[in-house]
């Protein structure tokens, strides 16, 4: 059984302004969960709290493995990975960037080389493995971010707007990679996107956030065909003014 996570009664405020109000949701199965909503809806904050990048003011994030709750420690953190909108590329080669996650885990050299090779092959960057990582284009950098994340075989992969700064060609490449990751591993993907079409192409389940709350959620087909919440309906039909 894979890793699952449950968000319970998450509340968060910045400078006295409430950003998240009592958000709860169980991400309890492999598949792709997409967080959608207008700007300022709180989806990125909820995402960052779920990914253990931020602490909530109240409420808790719990990870479970085979029914047992796990402690928030380095061992848990090594079972999940994130790809952020701005990829923090290390000032070294593409190979060394991808190998980083394996090195900090103490993986042996031969195994590291093999896994890095596979990950770079997977994202189509093997021919660039000796190039300087900071010389890559935006699309290649995003692919490097994905290679670096999947090389450690995470059980939950968090993707924060992975195609936000990309052109349509590179967006398609990244979407295909995400679809391949779903097919390759029994993995839970939690992703933030503004792109309705992307959500329809990639999601198994959609969470719609509005004004710091999870206003609606459902399986992707059901959500887009019959949204239960009026704001979700207006958002997906392009009628929402915000």
């Amino acid at each position: 059984m894979s890793l699952s996570l449950t968000a319970s009664h998450i509340t968060r405020s910045y400078n006295g302004k409430l950003i998240l109000h009592d958000c709860s949701f169980p991400f309890d199965g492999s598949g792709t969960y997409i967080l959608m909503g207008p700007n300022g809806s709180g989806k990125s904050t909820f995402f960052r709290i779920c990914a253990l990048l931020e602490e909530p003011d109240s409420g808790e994030i719990k990870f479970f493995s085979e029914g047992a709750a796990l402690k928030n420690d380095i061992y848990l953190r090594r079972r999940i990975t994130l790809v952020l909108p701005k990829i923090g590329i290390f000032n070294t080669t593409v190979f060394q960037n991808v190998a980083y996650g394996l090195k900090v885990r103490g993986t042996k050299k031969n195994e590291t080389e093999e896994k890095v090779h596979d990950a770079l092959e997977f994202v189509g960057l093997n021919h660039k493995k000796n190039s300087h990582a900071l010389s890559l284009s935006s699309g290649e950098t995003q692919r490097l971010g994905i290679a670096r994340a999947i090389v450690t075989d995470p059980e939950i992969l968090f993707l924060d707007e992975p195609t936000a700064s990309l052109d349509p060609y590179n967006t398609t490449i990244i979407e295909e990679l995400i679809a391949k990751i779903k097919g390759r591993n029994k993995i839970t993907i939690v992703m933030v996107t503004h792109n309705l079409y992307q959500a329809q192409r990639l999601a198994d389940y959609v969470l719609f956030m509005h004004d710091g709350r999870i206003a609606d959620h459902g399986a992707v087909k059901e959500f887009f065909a019959r949204p239960k919440d009026d704001r979700a309906y207006r958002f997906i039909t392009g009628q929402m003014v915000y």
């Binding site: 990914a51 990975t81 923090g88 290390f90 980083y100 996650g101 900090v104 450690t152």
Partner: protein, 233 residues
């Protein structure tokens, strides 16, 4: 003009013939400055790491002091070390005045604020996203620190090389605490000062040429390090 040309001619003669006195002075200079650099790097780098990663009391004050001490006048440092090491000073019993150890001490005091301040700037200039990336890829806090230091490596090396430049060219402090004793505490810069006073230009010029060459080498290394830090370097 003729005497200057003659001075240069004799200076090159001394260099090309590997004059024993010249070599001895160069060797002592490298030994004193090298040792001072090693100690100031150990102190400066530790301090900059502490200031960059730990919230210690009076942190802002220490950083301001380090920045101020970068421009310490060497003669003031020389005077301070002299007073501490002189017979009536608090460390007078150690008998270090007019020894290479006193010179190393003075140069270390001059160099470590440069290492600390420039290394601190290099470390805090690393994009915060690097720390976040490192954490999300499974690094422990210690591994994160090492990663950030690694990202700052070109800036750190620049700081160390800048400190080396400072100690190699220094004369005021080591003249006061070393005494310029022939064969014992006489280094390149103090010899140049002394020989110029005596009108013995060939040795002064020979050492000047070597000092300039060393300075050029240091700057070439610094330039190459800085270029390696850029993608297209």
């Amino acid at each position: 003009m003729g005497s200057i040309i003659e001075g240069f001619r004799k200076a090159f003669f001394l260099i090309l013939n590997l004059d024993q006195e010249l070599l001895k002075i160069i060797f002592l200079s490298l030994k004193v400055s090298g040792l001072a650099l090693v100690i100031s790097t150990a102190i400066g780098l530790s301090l900059s790491t502490l200031l960059s990663f730990k919230k210690i009391p009076l942190r802002g004050m220490i950083i301001s002091l380090m920045n101020t001490f970068m421009g310490l006048p060497p003669v003031v440092v020389g005077l301070f070390v002299y007073l501490i090491l002189s017979r009536s000073g608090p460390l007078g019993f150690m008998g270090l005045l007019y020894t290479p150890s006193a010179m190393v001490t003075a140069q270390t005091i001059l160099a470590f604020p440069i290492v600390a301040s420039l290394c601190h700037s290099a470390i805090i200039s690393v994009d915060p996203i690097i720390k976040q990336s490192s954490m999300t890829l499974g690094a422990t806090p210690m591994q994160m620190t090492v990663t950030i230091m690694r990202e700052a490596r070109y800036g750190i090396m620049s700081g160390i090389i800048a400190a080396l430049g400072r100690v190699m060219a220094e004369v005021g402090a080591i003249l006061i605490v070393g005494g310029n004793i022939a064969g014992y505490t006489r280094v390149m810069t103090t010899t140049i000062a002394l020989e110029t006073d005596k009108g013995n230009f060939e040795l002064a010029l020979a050492l000047g040429i070597i000092l300039l060459t060393l300075s050029l080498i240091i700057n070439i290394i610094l330039y190459r390090i800085q270029r390696r830090g850029t993608v297209n370097g």
